[in-house]
Assembly symmetry: C2
């Protein structure tokens, strides 16, 4: 057991349960907090409690939100006929940071993964179909990962969405920005070659 007094040991113990925070980092953080103003520590603690208390799911797209309808779904400047399907809220944030997408989202909260027992009823596919049925959506961009589960989920959604008068698209596959051909894996290179475009 560490020779710290109980309050310090307790804080270190809680901090070290966070992902990526080991024993040494937790000790360093605790020592840091002992040297910052009381107010700053209270604000940090409060922000963590509020994070849990105030964050819910958007009732339209199911991303994380402080409000019943998220800022994106509630923005009249967003194109509601262009719907991007993603695995989780983290993917929404990643795409938002690009500022390259002006449509709206649908968060599945997972991908199909028979190995983990996750089937179509375990992710928000029914809610996606319900949205499509309303007739506002014209194009659905499938932006699940380009890994096995993401590709399988995209393939499944193509089938599910076939009865509806919507265009279903998939995010492009190819070389990542800054990628080096010599170090690229064969699947990426194959995709990049097959999806080559005229300049």
């Amino acid at each position: 057991m560490l020779p710290y007094p109980p309050s310090i040991r307790n804080a270190i113990s809680h901090l070290s349960r966070l992902p990526g925070i080991g024993q040494k980092t937790a000790e360093r953080l605790a020592m840091h907090l002992l040297h910052v103003p009381d107010r700053a520590v209270h604000e940090l603690a409060r922000s963590l409690v509020d994070l849990k208390k105030n964050t819910r799911m958007c009732s339209v797209c199911f991303t994380l939100s402080d409000t019943p309808v998220c800022a994106i779904c509630g923005d009249p400047d967003r194109n509601a006929s262009l719907l991007c399907v993603v695995e989780g809220p983290t993917e929404v944030m990643a795409i938002e940071k690009t500022a390259a997408f002006k449509g709206v989202y649908h968060v599945l909260h997972g991908v199909l993964s028979p190995m983990d027992g996750i089937g179509p009823d375990d992710i928000r596919i029914r809610e996606l179909v319900d949205r499509v049925k309303k007739g506002i959506v014209k194009e659905i961009v499938l932006a699940t990962d380009t890994r096995v589960e993401g590709e399988a989920t995209a393939a499944y959604l193509v089938e599910v969405l076939k009865p509806f008068p919507v265009t279903v698209t998939r995010i492009a596959s190819g070389m990542p920005a800054g990628g080096e051909v010599r170090y690229s894996d064969p699947v990426t290179l194959k995709n990049a070659m097959e999806k080559r475009y005229a300049l």
Copy 2:
């Protein structure tokens, strides 16, 4: 600005002010906290507030403590005649982890550093002298860093402690455990050579 809702943005902002926690790590931590039970987040927040509220300085050795006198100073099995002088509470913990020292400590809360305007009156040297005057201490181990300020502080303390009937010692200099001679810096090697001992 990040496209997160305010509560998440606020938590990320506070987390990213911690040392070694960048924007991406703060985002990852916030996402993690959204998925752990409410209770765990409350306990974490509470532990940080308690850390500040309950931690004070030991009135004897000035290390961090939950109680007026720390567990080390209050332990009758520790040798009160053997006093180890260190820069801060972190050094106390580092030495305690070795389980190789059974004496007590004196925490200076700093080292002499004229460049930073830190002189003898800015660290707890007067309190050290007061302890020595009580006549219980027989040996003082100077365990400040072997860097410029630590060495200067040790040299200064040797002078300050000269009038008293105590043995003043310094932690050994030499090769660190697992050290490689070929990669050791000249000062370390010189020390290791000069302080060589018979086998």
